[in-house]
């Protein structure tokens, strides 16, 4: 196994593309180190991207924010601008691991590790976040929802990696929220989770919404029916019940010792409903 520290995006792409064997990008390393240790993966090449210029920056852009691929959860949480615009994404990221893990874990790493239970991903999908992917053919922008391909798999091609994640601008009266369900109080993997982003018009009507669920399918699940239940409503009980029902119906969880299918489907609805209530409270200020 070779270990390289890339000095630029181009160099990282060159290294990743030139290696015929398996490669791993190293961001925070909170997944990679565990996988190396347990012998789950034995890459031929590990490329450290943390030293690349700009990787650790959060930049305001077009009313939104561009978050470098090596920005840690702790750094994201300290950014008042991001926290104000996308509180749900920040709270999803901040739920990852302990203080120790927070100092290192990244949004892009969480996304590319491609766990169905990844905590930042439903909120990013609800936010319609966009990943900027660098590769041998140059850079391309890909909606976050299209990155995970299944447990542990992404749609990134050989030589490609994520350089930043863009959280877009949003109109006044907008907010988001993320909730997860875990049996223990902290340091646990989601049994089910929900991210909700919405906009409320001047008259209290919901004008836009996106709802995403985690841990109830092989990849994050966008639930348009749930969003449709909110849009045009005043977020009254009937709309929220319809949202919950749409989420329970859309969830396709597996049965395991952390929760039965029936339980996870029900909880998906309850969580999405509660997240929508929180997002609405935030949107109303």
């Amino acid at each position: 196994m070779r270990f390289e520290v890339a000095a630029s995006v181009a160099e990282a792409v060159r290294m990743l593309a030139a290696e015929p064997g398996t490669t791993r990008v190293l961001a925070g390393g909170t997944d990679v180190l565990v996988q190396l240790r347990s012998g789950l993966v034995e890459p031929d090449l590990v490329v450290d991207i943390k030293r690349i210029d700009g990787m650790r920056e959060i930049r305001a852009e077009d009313g939104g924010f561009r978050i470098g691929a090596a920005v840690s959860g702790a750094e994201l949480g300290e950014d008042a601008g991001v926290r104000a615009l996308w509180p749900g994404v920040v709270e999803g990221m901040e739920l990852i691991g302990s203080t120790q893990v927070q100092g290192r874990a990244t949004l892009a790493g969480n996304l590319c590790n491609a766990s169905p239970a990844a905590d930042s991903v439903p909120a990013m999908v609800a936010a319609d976040a966009v990943a900027r992917v660098a590769g041998p053919a140059g850079e391309r922008d890909v909606p976050v929802a299209q990155i995970p391909a299944g447990p542990g798999k992404t749609t990134l091609a050989k030589g490609e990696f994520i350089v930043s994640i863009f959280l877009p601008a949003r109109p006044a009266g907008s907010a988001d929220a993320y909730l997860r369900f875990i049996p223990r109080t902290e340091m646990d993997i989601a049994v089910c989770s929900a991210g909700v982003s919405l906009t409320i018009g001047g008259d209290g009507t919901c004008t836009a919404a996106r709802v995403a669920l985690g841990a109830v399918a092989p990849t994050v699940l966008l639930v348009p029916d749930a969003a449709a239940a909110l849009i045009g409503s005043k977020l009254d009980d009937a709309a929220l019940d319809a949202l919950a029902a749409a989420c329970s119906a859309a969830a396709k969880p597996i049965d395991d010792k952390r929760g039965t299918v029936a339980f996870r489907k029900k909880v998906a609805g309850v969580l999405a409903r509660r997240a929508a209530v929180i997002a609405a409270e935030r949107a109303r200020g």
Binding site: M1, L36, S98, F181
Partner: protein, 909 residues
């Protein structure tokens, strides 16, 4: 996997280091293995336990997740860097003061996470401390004392005054072995090894049941770099069978031909120093042929016998019978009936098994974490074909045990490698090794019926339970015998029949875990008591008071009791109980409901109806130093301190004047096992006797009457009887055995009798009692349970050390919480600390303790045992509180949210 190495230069505790390291070498490995900074602990190697927390540029980081390449140029601070000029930091002192370190294995991680918090927030609120330390797991303390210590670290508390002679018993002294636990100097199983030690890798069965055969081991060894030797069962010189109860010894150190559970050891690979990191175990030449496995005890009863001599896979049956329970139940005014099922529970101490071995002349010396040094020695000797005196076990500090480190694990394995190669060897279990191969709490399937008369007095009980004991006997017989004796709870039950069976399966071996099956059986009994109280229309606490055993009454074994403390415990809970009921009644409207529950415990201290002697030696050197040979393994529970407190007062010397030796089979007499809540009582009695004997010998020598004070030191003993001072010049005395001028060694064995065929007799000489109230709320939409407060009243007979006693209570409660709400070990699925959940800071609520003293004349200074009692009431009180909150009883543990929700729904349906 192999790497090119490159120099990494960084600063550790202010010292500049430069070292060749592979870029993805973990910082934890670098610090421990190469820089000798073993204060940083490794509990999981996966970011889950936080024991490895260090500061990197002031920020807390898991050293096991930090690649060497990322440390270059940075400042690393480890626990060894906290004290300056030999002075403890205020934080370290606060940990000692509050009893925040028990076994101490989590302490370095806790301290480093706390140090990072305090550097930005010197006076944190409890919630802030919990949030900052939430990534560090502790299995001993229940976290409350850690939070208290962190929040109190700003206070410059004066050093506590030394305890004067004769005042040690009852004093809240800090643990005597505490300072090294907060500086990182304490030596655990993985922390020291001889230079050049071979690294032992264990090859284990990936199947629950499989035949296996080896390929060409010699050829593989020759072709694989770094392999010094390979050993299989064929290499074991002695009897390849061990077991904690000799007549049942059935477990091979290395399996022969067939593996009977997933994780069973089949071969050892001894690797040259440094070769372990690159070693690829998947290439080891073994072929597995998977066989049908019996995993469910019900199915196992009709499956082929796992051990041919045990048809029906029945290891043993335990029975206690008294009166005519069937007639009593038939005539009862109220009868409650039910079934409860519990899961495998993993001990999850933060220290995986570890140790090293070397030859000292003809003697094989093994340093290891353990709960039973002498038993380790005797069993290892038998397996390796050596006389016991050729094996020496040196107990390192033990990072938690809770029952599982009673059984042999690494001892014969590392011993075999050293014996065969003549070279020092070491072994450090990974978290996965530890979870896969060591014992668990027995999963139980129990049914019971209990009846009362119209006034609510219990008239009869029938209990029946299958306990899944896994592939080998371990402590299955003890569980089968203890359960029927205790399944009545501390209540008067005139007509009774209880049967418990230990059933073999191909599941993990179930052995000893705090309570030996009694926690499971108590769940069954206590949930039915709530039902009976409701049926009889009596308050639940009052119902228990009505039925509680009193002095002079007989147990289900026909033993007439004295010093019964359950009545006092329940009486002490009357006030908290009414407050708790008022709190529950005051729940705000909405989906979150409140409930309170109560449950009791009793527990006999020491082995059940079997001898279990302890021997303690105390000597005085010619220099006047008092040396206590303390062979009771301290696994965090505090034997090093409690036994010394007892010995100090018996002898009449200041606690601070005592030097501790041991446990070490070469230097300490056998103080038995740290099990069955016996050390404070049994070894304590031996220490008391030894202290008194030594005192008499000294007084006799000086011809001074009892009641005089003794002063040791400066080559003399000064005896003051009020009238005169007598000085014994120690240099003038002949040194006896072990170089002491005065010495005493005393043995104590509890006076018990064997049980007859109906389980009648005196199984224990001393019992401890307790009861707990749990207040909680349930989110009835999600099924989540949030604990609000726990109030625990325990009768300790005499409180030897209140700080340590509270620590036991809080830690036991935390384990009871895990048993009730989250812990469920599934082989192949939960072999790590992120899939196997143990309670963390947020899961353990505020705990109030009420210490009751109802002295038992049999105990030292009246003391009874406590270690196991404390976890028994917690789980049933939680289940009773959930039922109070929701109307629904969860009958299968753990009560995970999906089960709580299902119970609520099925009740509604």
């Amino acid at each position: 996997m192999s790497f090119d190495t490159r120099p990494a230069a960084f600063t550790v505790n202010g010292r500049q280091v430069e070292i060749e390291a592979a870029p993805t070498e973990r910082l934890s490995h670098l610090l421990r293995e190469r820089l000798g900074l073993t204060g940083t602990k490794v509990g999981c190697d996966a970011g889950d336990c936080g024991a490895c927390t260090v500061l990197v540029d002031g920020m807390p980081q898991c050293a096991c997740l930090m690649p060497a390449a990322r440390v270059a140029g940075r400042q690393v601070t480890t626990v060894e860097g906290l004290a300056s000029d030999g002075r403890l930091s205020a934080l370290q002192a606060a940990f000692l003061r509050h009893g925040a370190a028990q076994c101490g294995i989590c302490t370095p991680g806790m301290l480093m996470a706390a140090a990072a918090l305090l550097s930005v927030n010197p006076r944190p609120a409890p919630a802030e401390a919990e949030a900052a330390l939430g990534g560090v797991l502790c299995r001993c303390t229940g976290y409350r004392k850690i939070v208290a210590a962190v929040c109190d670290a700003w206070a410059d508390a004066p050093r506590p005054a030394p305890v004067p002679a004769g005042r040690a018993v009852g004093a809240p002294v800090a643990r005597l072995d505490g300072p090294p636990k907060v500086t990182g100097a304490d030596v655990f199983g993985a922390d020291r090894w001889p230079a050049g030690a071979l690294w032992v890798h264990v090859i284990r069965s990936p199947h629950h049941h499989a035949d296996f055969s080896f390929g060409d081991l010699a050829a593989w060894q020759a072709a694989t770099p770094g392999v010094a030797a390979v050993f299989t069962a064929a290499d074991i010189p002695g009897r390849n069978a061990f077991g904690v109860i000799p007549p049942f010894a059935d477990q091979p150190a290395l399996a022969v031909d067939a593996a009977r559970f997933r994780g069973e050891a089949v071969a050892l690979v001894a690797l040259e120093p440094g070769a372990a990191e690159d070693f690829d175990a998947t290439a080891f030449p073994v072929t597995w042929e998977e066989l049908p496995a019996a995993l469910d005890p019900e199915a196992a009863k009709s499956a082929p016998a796992i051990h041919p001599a045990r048809p029906g896979n029945l290891l043993i049956r335990g029975l206690v019978r008294r009166g005519d329970p069937d007639a009593a139940l038939a005539a009862a005014a109220h009868v409650a009936e039910g079934a409860i099922e519990t899961a495998y529970v993993e001990h999850a101490y933060i220290e995986p098994e570890a140790g090293c071995a070397y030859m000292d002349g003809e003697t094989l010396v093994i340093h290891t974490c353990t709960q039973a040094p002498h038993m380790d020695r005797d069993d290892t000797a038998v397996m390796l074909g050596l006389p016991p005196e050729r094996v020496r076990i040196v107990a390192t500090s033990t990072g938690g045990g809770f029952g599982s480190k009673l059984d042999i694990s690494i001892q014969p394995l590392v011993g075999l490698v050293t014996l065969k190669t003549g070279r020092p060897a070491r072994i450090v279990y990974t978290r996965g090794d530890s979870m896969r191969s060591t014992t668990k709490r027995h999963p139980a399937r129990m049914r019971a019926r209990i009846g009362t008369d119209a006034a609510g007095r219990v008239t009869g009980q029938v209990f029946d339970g299958d306990f899944n004991t896994g592939a080998y006997a371990s402590w299955g017989p003890t569980v089968a015998n203890r359960v029927p004796v205790h399944a009545s709870g501390p209540y008067s039950v005139p007509n009774y029949r209880a049967e418990a069976r230990a059933i073999h399966t191909n599941g993990p071996i179930a052995g000893a875990f705090r309570g030996f099956g009694v926690p499971q059986a108590t769940i069954m009994q206590e949930v039915l008591y709530d039902q009976l109280a409701a049926d009889a229309g009596i308050d639940r606490l009052a119902f228990r008071q009505l039925n509680a055993l009193t002095d002079g009454e007989s147990t289900v074994c026909g033993q007439r009791l004295s010093a019964v403390g359950i009545g006092a415990c329940l009486a002490a809970l009357e006030g908290p109980w009414s407050e708790a009921l008022a709190w529950a009644a005051d729940a705000p409207a909405g989906p979150v409901t409140r409930g309170v529950g109560i449950a009791s415990c009793w527990y006999g201290c020491g082995n059940t109806a079997l001898p279990n002697p302890s021997t303690i030696r105390i000597g005085v050197t010619a220099a006047g130093e008092v040396v206590l040979h303390q062979g009771a393994a301290d696994i965090g529970q505090g034997a090093n301190t409690v036994i010394a407190q007892i010995a100090a007062d018996a002898l009449g010397v200041a606690l601070g004047a005592i030097r501790l030796v041991g446990p070490d089979t070469a230097f300490t007499p056998d103080a038995g096992k740290t099990s069955a809540s016996r050390q404070t009582y049994v070894s304590g009695r031996a220490a008391e006797a030894a202290g008194r004997a030594l005192r008499s010998a000294i007084l006799r020598h000086a011809n001074v009457a009892e009641g005089a004070s003794l002063g040791f030191g400066q080559g003399t003993i000064v005896i003051d009887d009020g009238a005169a001072r007598h000085v014994i010049d120690l240099a003038a005395l002949a040194e006896g055995r072990d170089g002491y001028v005065f010495a005493a060694e005393e043995t104590y064995d509890p006076p018990t009798t064997a049980l007859d065929a109906d389980g009648q007799g005196t199984p224990y000489a001393v019992y401890g009692y307790g009861a707990q109230i749990v207040e909680l709320s349930v989110d009835t939409r999600l099924g989540t349970v949030k604990l609000h407060r726990i109030t625990a009243a325990h009768d300790l007979g005499r409180v030897i050390n209140p700080v340590l006693a509270e620590g036991q209570i809080e830690g036991g409660i935390a384990q009871g919480i895990g048993l009730a709400l989250m812990e469920d070990y599934v082989p192949g699925r939960t072999e790590n600390l992120h899939d196997y959940l143990i309670p963390t800071f947020g899961d353990v609520p505020e705990i109030h303790h009420i210490l009751i003293e109802k002295p038992d004349p049999e105990g030292p200074f009246g003391a009874k045992g406590l270690g196991e009692h404390v976890l028994i009431p917690t789980a049933p009180a939680i289940l009773n509180a959930i039922r109070h909150a929701t109307g629904a009883l969860v009958t299968r543990l753990p009560a995970t949210p999906d089960r709580v929700l299902a119970a609520i729904r099925s009740k509604g349906a």
